[in-house]
Amino acid sequence: MASLPGFAEIVHQHQSLVYSLAYHSLGNRAVAEELTQDVFLSLHQNLHQLESMEHVKHWLRRAAAHRCIDEVRRQKFRRGPGLYEVPEPATRDRWQDPLLSRQLADSVASLPATARVVTVLRYQEELEPQEIAAVLRLPVATVKSRLHRALAMLRAKMQRKESVCKTSKHS
Protein backbone atom coordinates (compact mmCIF):
# COMPACT_ATOMS: atom_id res chain seq x y z
CA MET A 1 0.00 0.00 0.00
CA ALA A 2 2.98 2.29 0.61
CA SER A 3 3.89 2.38 -3.10
CA LEU A 4 0.40 3.49 -4.14
CA PRO A 5 -0.35 7.16 -4.79
CA GLY A 6 -3.43 8.82 -3.32
CA PHE A 7 -6.95 8.00 -4.47
CA ALA A 8 -7.35 11.32 -6.33
CA GLU A 9 -4.20 10.68 -8.34
CA ILE A 10 -5.33 7.16 -9.22
CA VAL A 11 -8.66 8.55 -10.43
CA HIS A 12 -6.93 11.19 -12.56
CA GLN A 13 -4.59 8.59 -14.01
CA HIS A 14 -7.16 5.92 -14.88
CA GLN A 15 -10.46 7.72 -15.40
CA SER A 16 -10.17 7.59 -19.19
CA LEU A 17 -9.50 3.82 -19.11
CA VAL A 18 -12.71 3.10 -17.21
CA TYR A 19 -14.84 5.78 -18.86
CA SER A 20 -13.75 4.77 -22.35
CA LEU A 21 -14.36 1.09 -21.70
CA ALA A 22 -17.85 1.92 -20.43
CA TYR A 23 -18.58 4.37 -23.25
CA HIS A 24 -17.52 1.96 -26.01
CA SER A 25 -19.43 -0.91 -24.41
CA LEU A 26 -22.61 0.99 -23.61
CA GLY A 27 -22.65 3.76 -26.23
CA ASN A 28 -24.07 6.29 -23.80
CA ARG A 29 -22.07 9.03 -22.11
CA ALA A 30 -24.33 9.50 -19.07
CA VAL A 31 -24.47 5.76 -18.32
CA ALA A 32 -20.71 5.47 -18.91
CA GLU A 33 -20.05 8.29 -16.45
CA GLU A 34 -22.32 6.75 -13.83
CA LEU A 35 -20.61 3.37 -14.25
CA THR A 36 -17.17 5.02 -14.02
CA GLN A 37 -18.14 6.69 -10.76
CA ASP A 38 -19.43 3.39 -9.34
CA VAL A 39 -16.24 1.55 -10.32
CA PHE A 40 -14.01 4.15 -8.64
CA LEU A 41 -16.17 4.27 -5.51
CA SER A 42 -15.85 0.52 -5.29
CA LEU A 43 -12.08 0.90 -5.76
CA HIS A 44 -12.03 3.43 -2.92
CA GLN A 45 -13.53 0.81 -0.61
CA ASN A 46 -11.12 -1.91 -1.74
CA LEU A 47 -7.95 0.15 -2.14
CA HIS A 48 -6.40 -1.26 1.04
CA GLN A 49 -6.33 -4.71 -0.58
CA LEU A 50 -4.31 -3.57 -3.60
CA GLU A 51 -0.53 -3.41 -3.55
CA SER A 52 0.73 -1.87 -6.78
CA MET A 53 -0.41 0.34 -9.64
CA GLU A 54 -0.43 -2.69 -11.95
CA HIS A 55 -2.74 -4.40 -9.50
CA VAL A 56 -4.97 -1.30 -9.42
CA LYS A 57 -5.07 -1.14 -13.22
CA HIS A 58 -5.97 -4.82 -13.49
CA TRP A 59 -8.61 -4.42 -10.78
CA LEU A 60 -10.15 -1.42 -12.58
CA ARG A 61 -10.24 -3.23 -15.91
CA ARG A 62 -11.87 -6.26 -14.35
CA ALA A 63 -14.43 -4.30 -12.34
CA ALA A 64 -15.32 -2.07 -15.30
CA ALA A 65 -15.55 -4.99 -17.76
CA HIS A 66 -17.83 -7.01 -15.50
CA ARG A 67 -20.05 -4.03 -14.78
CA CYS A 68 -20.24 -3.26 -18.50
CA ILE A 69 -21.34 -6.82 -19.28
CA ASP A 70 -24.01 -6.63 -16.57
CA GLU A 71 -25.20 -3.21 -17.79
CA VAL A 72 -25.35 -4.32 -21.45
CA ARG A 73 -27.45 -7.32 -20.45
CA ARG A 74 -29.71 -5.12 -18.32
CA GLN A 75 -30.14 -2.59 -21.15
CA LYS A 76 -30.90 -5.34 -23.63
CA PHE A 77 -33.58 -6.64 -21.29
CA ARG A 78 -34.99 -3.15 -20.80
CA ARG A 79 -35.03 -1.61 -24.24
CA GLY A 80 -33.13 -3.75 -26.75
CA PRO A 81 -29.62 -3.05 -28.05
CA GLY A 82 -28.67 0.56 -27.43
CA LEU A 83 -27.41 2.77 -30.22
CA TYR A 84 -24.20 4.70 -30.06
CA GLU A 85 -24.60 8.40 -29.50
CA VAL A 86 -23.04 10.86 -31.93
CA PRO A 87 -19.25 10.58 -31.41
CA GLU A 88 -17.59 13.19 -29.23
CA PRO A 89 -16.27 16.27 -31.10
CA ALA A 90 -12.64 15.27 -30.49
CA THR A 91 -13.20 11.94 -32.23
CA ARG A 92 -15.16 13.29 -35.16
CA ASP A 93 -12.48 15.39 -36.80
CA ARG A 94 -9.92 12.57 -36.66
CA TRP A 95 -12.27 10.02 -38.17
CA GLN A 96 -12.07 9.69 -41.93
CA ASP A 97 -15.55 8.61 -42.83
CA PRO A 98 -18.28 9.58 -40.33
CA LEU A 99 -20.85 7.31 -41.96
CA LEU A 100 -18.53 4.32 -41.76
CA SER A 101 -17.71 5.22 -38.18
CA ARG A 102 -21.40 5.32 -37.31
CA GLN A 103 -22.05 2.00 -39.02
CA LEU A 104 -19.14 0.33 -37.26
CA ALA A 105 -20.23 1.76 -33.91
CA ASP A 106 -23.77 0.45 -34.46
CA SER A 107 -22.38 -2.96 -35.43
CA VAL A 108 -20.24 -3.10 -32.28
CA ALA A 109 -23.27 -2.05 -30.22
CA SER A 110 -25.27 -4.94 -31.65
CA LEU A 111 -22.75 -7.57 -30.47
CA PRO A 112 -23.64 -9.79 -27.49
CA ALA A 113 -22.50 -8.42 -24.11
CA THR A 114 -19.35 -10.48 -23.54
CA ALA A 115 -18.26 -10.34 -27.19
CA ARG A 116 -18.67 -6.56 -27.12
CA VAL A 117 -16.55 -6.12 -24.00
CA VAL A 118 -13.94 -8.56 -25.33
CA THR A 119 -13.73 -6.51 -28.55
CA VAL A 120 -13.38 -3.24 -26.63
CA LEU A 121 -10.66 -4.70 -24.39
CA ARG A 122 -8.82 -6.02 -27.44
CA TYR A 123 -8.91 -2.84 -29.54
CA GLN A 124 -9.13 -0.07 -26.95
CA GLU A 125 -6.73 -1.49 -24.39
CA GLU A 126 -4.68 -3.50 -26.91
CA LEU A 127 -4.86 -6.53 -24.63
CA GLU A 128 -3.83 -9.99 -25.77
CA PRO A 129 -6.41 -12.81 -25.49
CA GLN A 130 -4.51 -14.18 -22.44
CA GLU A 131 -4.81 -10.82 -20.69
CA ILE A 132 -8.51 -10.50 -21.60
CA ALA A 133 -9.04 -14.00 -20.23
CA ALA A 134 -7.40 -12.94 -16.95
CA VAL A 135 -9.56 -9.80 -16.76
CA LEU A 136 -12.84 -11.59 -17.46
CA ARG A 137 -11.85 -14.84 -15.73
CA LEU A 138 -12.65 -16.85 -18.83
CA PRO A 139 -10.64 -19.61 -20.53
CA VAL A 140 -8.28 -18.25 -23.22
CA ALA A 141 -9.93 -20.49 -25.83
CA THR A 142 -13.32 -18.92 -25.05
CA VAL A 143 -11.89 -15.42 -25.42
CA LYS A 144 -10.29 -16.32 -28.73
CA SER A 145 -13.47 -17.85 -30.08
CA ARG A 146 -15.62 -14.90 -28.90
CA LEU A 147 -13.19 -12.47 -30.52
CA HIS A 148 -13.11 -14.47 -33.73
CA ARG A 149 -16.90 -14.68 -33.85
CA ALA A 150 -17.28 -10.97 -33.04
CA LEU A 151 -14.97 -10.02 -35.91
CA ALA A 152 -16.82 -12.31 -38.29
CA MET A 153 -20.14 -10.77 -37.25
CA LEU A 154 -18.79 -7.25 -37.65
CA ARG A 155 -17.31 -8.05 -41.04
CA ALA A 156 -20.60 -9.54 -42.23
CA LYS A 157 -22.61 -6.58 -40.94
CA MET A 158 -20.28 -4.02 -42.48
CA GLN A 159 -20.32 -5.82 -45.83
CA ARG A 160 -24.11 -5.93 -45.75
CA LYS A 161 -24.27 -2.23 -44.95
CA GLU A 162 -21.75 -1.41 -47.67
CA SER A 163 -23.73 -3.31 -50.27
CA VAL A 164 -26.94 -1.56 -49.18
CA CYS A 165 -25.17 1.81 -49.56
CA LYS A 166 -23.86 0.90 -53.01
CA THR A 167 -27.26 -0.25 -54.30
CA SER A 168 -28.96 2.89 -52.96
CA LYS A 169 -26.27 5.07 -54.67
CA HIS A 170 -26.71 3.27 -58.03
CA SER A 171 -30.48 3.54 -57.93
Binding site: F7, A8, V11, H12, Q15, S16, L17, Y19, S20, Y23, H24, R29, E33, T36, Q37, F40, L41, H44, E88, A90, T91, R94, W95, L100, S101, L104, A105, V108, T119, V120, Y123, Q124, E126, L151, L154, R155, M158, Q159, E162
Partner: protein, 113 residues
Protein backbone atom coordinates in the same frame (compact mmCIF):
# COMPACT_ATOMS: atom_id res chain seq x y z
CA UNK B 1 -13.85 -2.59 -45.70
CA UNK B 2 -10.05 -2.51 -46.06
CA UNK B 3 -8.89 -3.40 -42.61
CA UNK B 4 -11.58 -3.99 -40.03
CA UNK B 5 -9.13 -4.32 -37.19
CA UNK B 6 -7.44 -1.01 -38.00
CA UNK B 7 -10.81 0.69 -38.15
CA UNK B 8 -11.83 -0.87 -34.85
CA UNK B 9 -8.60 0.35 -33.25
CA UNK B 10 -9.32 3.85 -34.51
CA UNK B 11 -12.96 3.83 -33.45
CA UNK B 12 -12.39 2.20 -30.08
CA UNK B 13 -9.40 4.28 -29.03
CA UNK B 14 -9.51 5.74 -25.57
CA UNK B 15 -11.94 8.60 -25.05
CA UNK B 16 -11.09 11.44 -22.70
CA UNK B 17 -13.20 11.40 -19.57
CA UNK B 18 -15.66 14.32 -19.27
CA UNK B 19 -14.30 17.44 -17.60
CA UNK B 20 -14.65 17.38 -13.83
CA UNK B 21 -15.39 13.65 -13.62
CA UNK B 22 -12.36 12.92 -11.42
CA UNK B 23 -13.31 15.75 -9.04
CA UNK B 24 -16.89 14.46 -8.84
CA UNK B 25 -15.65 10.94 -8.06
CA UNK B 26 -13.25 12.16 -5.35
CA UNK B 27 -15.99 14.34 -3.82
CA UNK B 28 -18.43 11.40 -3.76
CA UNK B 29 -15.81 9.11 -2.21
CA UNK B 30 -15.02 11.74 0.45
CA UNK B 31 -18.72 12.24 1.17
CA UNK B 32 -19.27 8.53 1.49
CA UNK B 33 -16.26 8.21 3.83
CA UNK B 34 -17.62 11.04 6.00
CA UNK B 35 -21.07 9.44 6.08
CA UNK B 36 -19.37 6.15 6.96
CA UNK B 37 -17.50 7.77 9.85
CA UNK B 38 -20.58 9.58 11.18
CA UNK B 39 -22.62 6.38 10.86
CA UNK B 40 -19.97 4.57 12.91
CA UNK B 41 -20.10 7.26 15.62
CA UNK B 42 -23.90 7.13 15.59
CA UNK B 43 -23.78 3.36 16.06
CA UNK B 44 -21.33 3.75 18.98
CA UNK B 45 -23.51 6.45 20.57
CA UNK B 46 -26.61 4.28 20.16
CA UNK B 47 -24.82 1.31 21.74
CA UNK B 48 -23.69 3.47 24.70
CA UNK B 49 -27.23 4.80 25.15
CA UNK B 50 -28.72 1.31 25.10
CA UNK B 51 -26.13 0.09 27.66
CA UNK B 52 -26.82 3.12 29.89
CA UNK B 53 -30.57 2.46 29.62
CA UNK B 54 -30.14 -1.19 30.56
CA UNK B 55 -27.89 -0.20 33.51
CA UNK B 56 -30.36 2.40 34.74
CA UNK B 57 -33.23 -0.06 34.53
CA UNK B 58 -31.19 -2.72 36.37
CA UNK B 59 -30.36 -0.21 39.14
CA UNK B 60 -33.99 0.88 39.45
CA UNK B 61 -35.06 -2.74 39.69
CA UNK B 62 -32.45 -3.45 42.41
CA UNK B 63 -33.52 -0.41 44.43
CA UNK B 64 -37.15 -1.45 44.15
CA UNK B 65 -36.29 -4.97 45.35
CA UNK B 66 -34.26 -3.62 48.29
CA UNK B 67 -37.08 -1.30 49.26
CA UNK B 68 -39.56 -4.16 49.05
CA UNK B 69 -37.31 -6.31 51.26
CA UNK B 70 -36.99 -3.49 53.79
CA UNK B 71 -40.74 -2.96 53.84
CA UNK B 72 -41.29 -6.68 54.32
CA UNK B 73 -38.82 -6.73 57.23
CA UNK B 74 -40.48 -3.69 58.82
CA UNK B 75 -43.88 -5.29 58.41
CA UNK B 76 -42.63 -8.52 59.92
CA UNK B 77 -41.18 -6.60 62.87
CA UNK B 78 -44.41 -4.68 63.34
CA UNK B 79 -46.43 -7.90 63.20
CA UNK B 80 -44.14 -9.52 65.75
CA UNK B 81 -44.58 -6.52 68.05
CA UNK B 82 -48.34 -6.66 67.69
CA UNK B 83 -48.30 -10.37 68.31
CA UNK B 84 -46.26 -9.92 71.51
CA UNK B 85 -48.60 -7.18 72.73
CA UNK B 86 -51.58 -9.34 71.97
CA UNK B 87 -50.09 -12.25 73.87
CA UNK B 88 -49.45 -9.97 76.85
CA UNK B 89 -52.97 -8.62 76.70
CA UNK B 90 -54.35 -12.13 76.34
CA UNK B 91 -52.38 -13.25 79.36
CA UNK B 92 -53.65 -10.31 81.33
CA UNK B 93 -57.19 -10.98 80.23
CA UNK B 94 -57.05 -14.72 80.90
CA UNK B 95 -55.11 -14.49 84.21
CA UNK B 96 -58.06 -13.77 86.74
CA UNK B 97 -60.37 -16.18 84.94
CA UNK B 98 -57.96 -19.01 85.60
CA UNK B 99 -57.82 -18.03 89.24
CA UNK B 100 -61.61 -17.93 89.45
CA UNK B 101 -61.74 -21.35 87.99
CA UNK B 102 -59.23 -22.54 90.54
CA UNK B 103 -61.28 -20.99 93.34
CA UNK B 104 -64.39 -22.62 92.09
CA UNK B 105 -62.70 -25.95 91.95
CA UNK B 106 -61.46 -25.50 95.54
CA UNK B 107 -64.97 -24.67 96.69
CA UNK B 108 -66.31 -27.72 94.90
CA UNK B 109 -63.72 -29.88 96.63
CA UNK B 110 -64.68 -28.43 100.06
CA UNK B 111 -68.31 -29.15 99.36
CA UNK B 112 -67.53 -32.69 98.41
CA UNK B 113 -65.61 -33.23 101.59
Amino acid sequence: MQDLEAQLRLMLRRQDAPAGLAERIVARAEGRRRVGVSTRWLAIAAAVLVMAGIGWQYRQERERRLQAEQTAQQLEFALRLVAERLTKVERQVRGPETRVIHLQTNKQEENLQ
